[in-house]
Structures are given as structure tokens and as C-alpha cells.
């Protein structure tokens, strides 16, 4: 029997498509971008797109892409690495529809019960406000719901496979750990995760709790930065003007603290919450 689970990721496709200017530049106009992450431990595979072997001997913990693909429907299949064709899939085949200018990551992973499956996540490639970075955490591991801890405090709570949550953060290096929901004993990490300004960093928890091989995978989508709105070079009057705020100067430099912008938690979070089972 084949696993046919193919869950869509965030429903932000329309948004992503509308603001795709910032996406990877190698694509032809309107192409969708598809990355593929292998998150099934111990299983080297081939990945087939529309019956063509597209990734050969694809190993766990590796990320491929992005592939630039014209918008449309594709059939993805994952086979053992020595398969002659895509007929004996171990995951799939699954049909996915890629929107023009959409940005996606297809993940081969274990479901919460430990069965190989695949998920298609839609990556938010909207522009990020100047001075911020975006972090999305995706649960693609054979494990119960988890909390993501940064500096010991939960920044993502009760995240279940295959859901995701997105945060907008100050750039820096976050010491991130993953723990069972409601606990603080790490089952992954702590590991340093870099949140770069103008970059959407996507962290996947993958592997199996029962097999003691949970780990993190990281994908970065760059080029989503915005420019500051102005350069306020006047000091006269600045103490009464609203435009400049010298008091805020340099305070955040180098700080690794997660400053959660509650208002900045975006579409993906909402969607993830809606999708929670």
C-alpha cells in the first residue's frame, strides 16, 4: 500500500504568487520554484517528476533545488534509489499543482506515526520589512506535538506534524531547541539557527522520536529584504519630530534575543492554526 497523504502547506499561494518578484532569479518569468527536502531517515531515494528521474540517490537530510518549473500540475513520486522507473513508489505518486511564481518545498518525511509520507508546503516569499527576518518552523517528524524553545522560552507552542508556524524576528542567532509540548527538555538541540535579515529561514524538525534520530533541517529563502524608508540625517527638531528616534540606536546590535513581533506573525501562522487537526 502506498501512502497517499499529501498535505498542502500554508494556503498563501495567492499571496506568494502576487509578490514573487523577490523570488529566486534563475526562473523564467512566472515559473514556480520547487525545493525538495528529504526527511525520512535511513532511506536513500530517487525522486521522479512526471515520470522522469529528477533527483538521483537523494539522501536523508539533504535539500535540493529550487527547481524552476512552469506553473501547472506535476506528479511526484519517490522510489528506492535503484528503481528502474517511478512505478514502485515508496511515497506517492502524488499530484501537486504549482501556481505561477509560487514557491514550494516538497518534503518527504515521516508522519506523526512514523510512516513515510510527503507534504507540499507553500513558502511565503513576500517582502520582509527592513530590519527583520522571518522564521518558519515545520513539524515533519515522527513525534507528538512540540514546542520550539528559544533561550529556554517557548516561541512556538503545540506544533503538530505536518503543521507550521511563522514568526517575524529580529535578525541574529537563535539557540533553538525542540521539546514535547508543555515541556522544556529538548528532544532536538539546542542548535544555533541564524535568522538573517531579509531572509525567510525555514526550519524542519524531522526524523523519529522513537528511533532517537530527530534533527533539524534548514532552508533559507533570500532576497526578501526591504529598504529602510528614509535616512533621517537631521538632528534639529528630531527630538520633537516623529521621523527619527536616536534613542533606539544600536541597542539591538548583536542581540540574539528573540523579539517576537506579535503583530508580525503572519499568514502562515493563521493558516497553520486553521489546519491544526
Amino acid at each position: 500500500m502506498r501512502n497517499r497523504i499529501f498535505t498542502a502547506g500554508a494556503g498563501a499561494g495567492a499571496i506568494a504568487a502576487a509578490i514573487a518578484l523577490a523570488g529566486p532569479a534563475q526562473a523564467a518569468e512566472g515559473d514556480a520554484q520547487l525545493s525538495v527536502l528529504h526527511g525520512v531517515p535511513g532511506l536513500t531515494v530517487d525522486v521522479w517528476v512526471n515520470g522522469d528521474r529528477t533527483l538521483d540517490d537523494f539522501a536523508p537530510g539533504t535539500l535540493a533545488g529550487p527547481l524552476a518549473l512552469p506553473a501547472g500540475a506535476y506528479e511526484l513520486a519517490i522510489t528506492a534509489s535503484d528503481a528502474a522507473d517511478a512505478s514502485a513508489a515508496v511515497i506517492g505518486p502524488v499530484s501537486v499543482t504549482l501556481a505561477a511564481n509560487g514557491n514550494y518545498t516538497a518534503v518527504a518525511n515521516l508522519d506523526a506515526a512514523g510512516n513515510p509520507t510527503a507534504n507540499l508546503f507553500t513558502n511565503d516569499v513576500s517582502q520582509i520589512e527592513a530590519g527583520k527576518g522571518k522564521l518558519t518552523v515545520r513539524h515533519t517528524a515522527a513525534a507528538p506535538a512540540v514546542d520550539v524553545l528559544a533561550g529556554g522560552a517557548a516561541v512556538v507552542s503545540n506544533l503538530a506534524n505536518p503543521n507550521e508556524q511563522t514568526l517575524t524576528l529580529d535578525p541574529g542567532t537563535v539557540s533553538a531547541a525542540v521539546a514535547a509540548t508543555g515541556t522544556t527538555a529538548p528532544v532536538i538541540g539546542p542548535a544555533d539557527v541564524t535568522i538573517a535579515e531579509g531572509t525567510h529561514t525555514v526550519v524542519y524538525a524531522w526524523g523519529s522520536l522513537a528511533d532517537n534520530n530527530l534533527q533539524l533541517a534548514v532552508q533559507t529563502i533570500e532576497g526578501l529584504h526591504s529598504a529602510p524608508g528614509s535616512v533621517p540625517g537631521a538632528l534639529d527638531g528630531s527630538t520633537v519630530g516623529a521621523a527619527s528616534d536616536p534613542a533606539a540606536l544600536t541597542l539591538g546590535i548583536g542581540a540574539a534575543a528573540l523579539a517576537l513581533l506579535l503583530g508580525g506573525v503572519g499568514v502562515a501562522r493563521t493558516v497553520a492554526a486553521r489546519r491544526a487537526e
Binding site: 517528476v49 533527483l55 540517490d57 527592513a130 542567532t173 529602510p228 528614509s230 535616512v231 527619527s244
Partner: protein, 250 residues
Amino acid sequence: MKAGHMKKGPTTAGESRRRSSVVSGGGVLLAGALLLSSCAAAPPVPAASSVPSAAQAAGQAVPAQSVPAQPVSPVPAITAAPTSPAAVPDIPVRPAAPEAAVAAPVPVSLTVAGTPINMPVVPVGVSDSGAMEIPDAFDRAGWYRFGPAPGAAAGTAVIAGHIDTKSDNAPFSALKSVAAGTVVEVGREGAPALKYRVVSVELMAKDRFDGSSVFRRSGQHELKVITCGGEWLDERMDYSDNVIVTAVLE
């Protein structure tokens, strides 16, 4: 919007695993940082330097023996000429493990020949209002730390300072008068100083501020030294323009 696609069927992980052969990693495509192709001008990122440089391009790493010798219908390898609409180019593959950030040398001083501008530079970010932060002190300049650093391969390094104090002009007030060819020197932490030469001085109206051109992250590397200028507008409590000096590496 894809929720309707969800299907669930019996799953047999054990069977899947039995059917798969676990091969050694010999043919694994470790193509390093090639994934990060979207924005060559972005500030240095982990993968740029911490991924083994020996990694091969993905398409070259396909071991011949991994493709079945006698398929009924030939299976094109990744490197084969595209044969279908969905044919893919060489696909970069990299380990997805977290990587440490690598920082570029930070500018620490700015000198503009023939002016009083000779001051320390500190990294700055963005204020709550979305403006570039500027050091409060009139004798210090700020470098926009989220953009390219001086000496970067591409994009603009932006250093800005106040034109005045509450009672007097600051060194940056001399910026509007520098001539083309003026030497601008940027000292860096842990790296040699850089010498730029001014190629242009322009006024940009603040109400038509073109942030994407001033704070470029791709294209030719330039240094932008910025302060205020034009007229003081009482009603705005601000100057009308920015003075933008553009300099290129000598």
C-alpha cells in the same frame, strides 16, 4: 487552499523500508551552496563559505551505475538533454543541517578628504518607524548593517550621519560640497582599509526617497555616504532632501 487535496490511505512504513535499498552515500549529490542562487548580492550567509568548496555541481555527480542499465524506456539522467516539458536543469543539492553565520568585516571609521569628516562608524539598523538609524552623536556615522559592507562584492554599503547638532553644523554638512574624485577612506575591523573615490553628489527629495536604489543589495558595489540637505522645512521639522555621495572602490 490545498486542504482539499488531503488524502489518507493505509500506510506501511515497514514495507516501504523493506523495499528500499539503503545505498552508501557515494552518489549523493552534495552540491554545496548552489541552492542559494536567488540573490548573489545578499550579505554573506552561512552557506557561502561554510559549505565544502569541493562539493560538485549536482549534475556532474550522478553516478552512471545508479541508472538502470537496460530500462525498457531509457531513463534520462539529470544531465541528459531535456526531453519533456518538466525536464529539469542541474539541481543543486546541499546538506540541510544548520550552519553558522559568517560576518563580513565591519567598517569602523570614515574619512572624507578635504572635509572635517573623520569619525568612527558604528553598525546601525532600522528604527521602529522604518528609518535607517543614525547615531545620535554628531561625530559618529552609522553603517547600515543589514546591507552590504564596504568592500562587498555587490550592492551598496550605506554610511550616514547627522548634518547638524541642535545648535551647529556637524562634519557631515561638508558632504554636499565634495568634488568628484575626492578620496573616501573606510577603515574596517580586521581587514585593510578601503579607498573609494567620489563619482557623484546628488540631492534626493525625502518625499521621493528611492530606498531600493540607495540600499541596493545587487549590482555594482558602491559606497553611499548620506546626510540631510536641501532646505529646512519647519512644517516637517526636517530637511527637504538627502545628500547622497556615491563613491566607487579605487
